[in-house]
């Protein structure tokens, strides 16, 4: 039982790593290959939700178009995984941003949750949730540290 759980957790950590490498490489096909066709995504910006991989792919493309290679900051910290036989989820903090024209780093902290389902033997992301906390008074995103 413990061993099966450890194996599943290792498999999810490998999936998270592989997805992170695709994001850092700005490889849209690599990113999207982790997503189930009927993914429900709650992204940090723009819309309440993105339903289905094609809609979410377009959003990712728009987001990546705003980054320049080599200037993107996308670090994962405090990755926690809860994994069962065919359902799992991961949470993490992400330091996200970029380096401006003047070489100045501009980054903020986000939160990520990814929900996995093993479909036909392959772990796929069926749900993803990114966000930043906001201030209740100003409704402005908070610049907070872990």
């Amino acid at each position: 039982m413990k061993t099966a759980q450890a194996t599943a957790e290792a498999a999810i950590r490998a999936q998270v790593d592989s997805w992170l490498h695709a994001v850092l490489a700005m490889d849209i096909e690599g990113i999207v290959s982790h997503y189930a066709s009927d993914i429900i995504a709650f992204d940090a910006v723009s819309q309440l939700q993105f339903k289905g991989v094609e809609v979410y792919r377009k959003h990712w493309q728009a987001c990546l178009a705003m980054c320049r290679p080599g200037t993107m900051i996308f670090e994962m910290h405090e990755v926690h995984v809860t994994a069962g036989d065919d359902v799992a989820f991961a949470s993490a903090l992400i330091r996200c941003g970029g380096t401006g024209e003047n070489g100045e780093e501009k980054a903020g902290w986000m939160r990520m949750t990814a929900g996995y389902h093993k479909l036909h033997g392959t772990w796929m992301v069926v749900h993803e949730h990114f966000s930043a906390p906001f201030d209740m008074e100003t409704l402005q995103v908070l610049d907070v540290q872990p």
Copy 2:
């Protein structure tokens, strides 16, 4: 297999409903009874994360103190559940707000993800994530509809 999955999904939906009833009743003990002691919570406001049920309980108490009974709006929509033998997660949209002194309704749409783990035979929330999307230019929370 299908039957076990359907049973687990029904159990998670019952947990979500029971949690929702506790929130609507502003019953802090009822809310907290759904959480594992080592919960990692990403709430929509105030902080990046809340680690452990006691820290999260205090945050919930502070949030509930801002609501008056009978004026809270907290509606769940589009609840999706992915459930395995002992790991599951749920996502939902939440219409959240209240009625002001003048009787005027003020509410916005949020997103929720809850991660469940069956511990000693009982489904517990080990991870929770609430958020609202923001505008990338203004960093202001978006007033968006589903």
